[in-house]
């Protein structure tokens, strides 16, 4: 499809849908309704939205959907760290129940017992998986969960009178950027540990930075390299001894379910991305859920309300003594809570463990195969990878000039995703693959074959890769300054009309 921008479909007079109008009796009672608006607040011109018939609006968006590569459509292992797994269709069907979709969050508790029970049941499951003792599902994404945890750390030290003194949060460079960013928003100074030469967080560096200023330590384990830090319990001990809180970014938990837990590793808090490990869909980037679990001691700090059970009824407890308040409206993303609960129930305890084991098996298979591809390598320690690996094309780039961004565009031609890594590129020419448990050996072999072919192309005829894509929805972007020059960028259609179309006319 070569689908225009929606504004280009404008045909004055057309209509996409008829809205409900007020009943005649209502109109005869109150008139036009809008005369009540104070003069200063009347909108004088209608918004310049396009007017388009319903069929054309639909056609536009379904065509755009076909130009979007959802995980239902490809061997989605190229978006490493994102844990792109199979999204069970039954769960999508279950959330379309009006008794879920049409609930208002302020309904009396007696009328939402089913929903509260689902939330509570998920809480119980998450406790088993993590060893934590209370969960909040209010944070609606990993970033918001990290922010909530940073808030708890601050509140905790404030409650103990150390709020001003403890103003440092320690993290590692292979952890998600949001760990550092959210702690900084919460006013903390960030200390970032770089890995040792094998790719492990360096315990000596940790020892060097802890102090009475240490408020907390946040880390992913395994990190985005897929390397598990076996000394994690020592790390948490060191931080605890310095008086800090240890919190755990479990975005990379997919290889750990039923294998090892936050509690035993010494963490006080952790969060899981329900939209990653727990098979809720990513929905182009949310809404999502960062399930936030804490030990008993920190329960009173959670954002409220949380769901509790009194043996007979489920109820909302908003009476948390040290609560940080709220991080998000009402109760979070209920559909995703339901999806993840359903997913856990479809797997059971054995199934969850098989998820982890198969994810690790798949990843190690891939790891084994990718390293055999000419020009590709996996920096740091040999082996010891769990659910994902950050690879490098450093050698290929040196030898052929083909970069990881070139490979990225070329992978599109195979109908596959491919992601490099978060910035900064500590690993040169990086790419990160996470096969999860959802893909079969045949699927993995297909992905590997595509990488092999591109490597061959790079060594034989690098231009093939550099000029890609060929079979994508669009051709290579002409970036120049269009995205970074304030005079050129066009963040909306009205700016495009002003900066590009009208300028072109006057030329």
């Amino acid at each position: 499809w070569n689908e225009p921008i929606i504004f280009e479909l404008h045909q004055p007079g057309e209509k996409g849908v008829e809205v409900p109008l007020a009943d005649k009796t209502v109109v005869s009672e109150v008139g036009d309704g809008v005369s009540m608006i104070p003069g200063s607040m009347v909108r004088s011109e209608r918004p310049k939205l396009p007017e388009i018939g319903q069929a054309r609006v639909l056609r536009h968006y379904v065509r755009l959907s076909q130009e979007t590569l959802g995980s239902d459509f490809n061997v989605e292992i190229g978006q490493g760290t994102c844990t792109m797994k199979y999204i069970p269709k039954i769960n999508e069907l279950l959330i379309r129940n009006p008794k879920m979709m049409e609930l208002h969050p302020l309904q009396d508790e007696s009328t939402v017992q089913g929903m509260l029970e689902i939330i509570h049941n998920l809480d119980l499951c998450m406790r088993e998986i993590s060893g934590m003792e209370a969960f909040s599902f209010q944070p609606s994404g990993g970033t918001q969960a990290l922010f909530a945890m940073a808030s708890i750390v601050r509140k905790y030290h404030e409650a103990r009178g150390e709020g001003d003194q403890r103003n440092e949060i320690i993290t590692t460079i292979f952890s998600h950027p949001s760990q550092a960013a959210t702690a900084a928003v919460k006013g903390f100074k960030i200390i970032t540990l770089h890995p040792d030469e094998d790719g492990f967080p360096d315990i000596e560096k940790l020892k060097a930075v802890v102090s009475e200023r240490t408020a907390g330590f946040v880390v992913a384990n395994p990190e985005d390299t897929g390397i598990y830090n076996p000394k994690i319990k020592e790390f948490t001990r060191i931080v605890h001894e310095a008086g800090g809180i240890c919190y755990y970014d479990q975005a990379n938990a997919n290889g750990l379910l039923g294998i090892t837990r936050a509690k035993e590793a010494g963490f006080d808090m952790c969060f899981f991305n329900l939209h990653k490990t727990f098979a809720a869909p990513h929905m182009c980037g949310g809404p999502a859920t960062g399930a936030l679990g804490v030990v008993d001691q920190l329960k009173e700090y959670l954002p409220g309300p949380i769901v509790e059970f009194d043996g007979e009824n489920y109820y909302l407890n908003d009476d948390l003594k040290h609560s940080i308040g709220k991080v998000r409206a009402f109760h979070g993303v209920a559909q995703t809570i339901l999806r993840s609960y359903a997913w856990i129930r479809a797997l059971g305890p054995d199934g969850l463990k098989e998820v982890a084991q198969t994810a690790v098996l798949n990843n190690n298979y891939l790891y084994h195969k990718v390293q055999k591809i000419r020009g590709a390598s996996a920096p740091y320690v040999k082996g010891q990878r769990l659910e994902q690996v950050r690879y490098s094309w450093e050698q290929m780039t040196k030898e052929t000039g083909v970069t990881t961004e070139d490979v990225q565009r070329r992978m599109t031609d195979f109908g596959l995703h491919y992601w490099t890594s978060h910035h900064p590129y500590i690993v040169p020419q990086p790419f990160t693959l996470e096969p999860t448990e959802s893909y079969s050996k045949t699927d993995l072999d297909e992905y590997i074959a595509a990488l092999e072919q591109i490597s061959n192309e790079a060594y034989e005829n690098p231009e093939i890769v550099q000029n890609a894509p060929y079979n994508s929805t669009i051709h290579q972007l002409d970036e120049q300054n269009y995205l970074d020059d304030p005079k050129e960028w066009c963040i909306t259609w009205r700016l495009y009309k002003k900066k590009v179309l009208e300028t072109a006319l006057t030329k």
Binding site: K48, A184, T192, I344
Partner: protein, 462 residues
Amino acid sequence: MTKKVHPYIPNTVPEVQNQMLKEIGAESIMELYSCIPEELQLKEDMKIPEALTEYGLRRHIESLLSKNISTNEYLNFLGAGCWQHFVPAVCDEVNQRSEFLTAYAGEPYEDHGRFQALFEYQSLVAELVDMDVVNVPTFDWGQAASTSIRMAARITGKKKVLLAKTVSPERAKIITNYGSPELEFEFIGFDKDSGLLDLADLKNKADGNTAAIYFENPSYLGFIESQGTEISEIAKAHGVILVVGVDPISLGVLAPPSHYGADIVCGDLQPLGMHMNFSGGQAGFIATRDEEKFIHEYPSRLFGIIPTVKEGEYGFGDVAYERTSFALREKGKESVGTQTALWGITAGVYLSLLGPNGMYELGQTIMQNSQYCVKKLNKISGVKGSLFTSPFFKEFIIDFNETGLSVETINARLREKKIFGGKDLSQEFPEFGQSALYCVTEVHTREDLDRLIEAIEEIVSN
């Protein structure tokens, strides 16, 4: 480990596992876990119920959900930040498309459609608020307001933030937690009769240290804040950035805040095509002018339209990516991650369907229906249909003080009549006594409103 092959995990087939292990050169899967110290390995089983088949799962979940009573079954007048509106079927069709549902963070090539849909969403909301820049949506209105305020603080380099006392208390909690410890918050009072912002108090508190003034319009309590221009003048006098929160569904009939001087506009997209979902439909937006000082302070992604090497073809990319935490970690602007992209796409579909006239008619219907409701309520002895004298949009406070009944009692009696009454304000605004915030929209037919009115009449007169 059981030998059962799960439909979600193809490689649980033992033959395949063995083949893969052989390839890797490992004896068993647990060998791959040797990096996890023995003492950290979980010994006991997780106490989670055994797996259900798809059919068993369906029976289980549906039996739990059947304990809920939805707003399809009871008449609903709850709003207060999550509102029941008409959702066009095309919105559901588009956001349930499995491509959009299961996509994530692909590149502008294979995910061209996602980029375009979000660029269009930005462009459509920009017309609604009449501003030039709109972000890829964030979590909810509370987050959007919090970030708008922090943007203002970064731009001005100041720390004091003035919040209208009529801002939603829940949002105020989000804002103050998000702003602290860096920012300082003060509240501005309101007029008890009209609900309008106390301009004297504002003048008093606004000064050279003030980063931002934030109020909402229509307010949390439903009234229309008509002093936009006056507030904006006070802000300008001190170099303060004016942030206004808005219910976007009002903007077919109400002036957008940019028209009365707002620098940053934020709000919740939920009314624009999202089902309530027990609050799972929330999504926040932020809009500003196209000025570098604003753009560079957005933490969110901003998609821009650019050419491709093929003449006439559109492509899309991240504008000013270097400001984000993706690019700079803690040096970036706040943080960015998975937020509410699908609701952004849906809001775009919604606005494309309604167009300018649909948005106008919808606003009008809401005003007519809610005014009708208040007018009829006023006829009930002891009930004051609207506590405030100001005109209102969609929501209004019913004053039950004269009835001698508590809102709690009235709501319980309404539930017996299959009606969800409005939100009890006695906790958040004790000064209003027994009053409740009611929400009336285009989903209410005259029959629905009459049913409510008759029910209240019956309850208060017994």
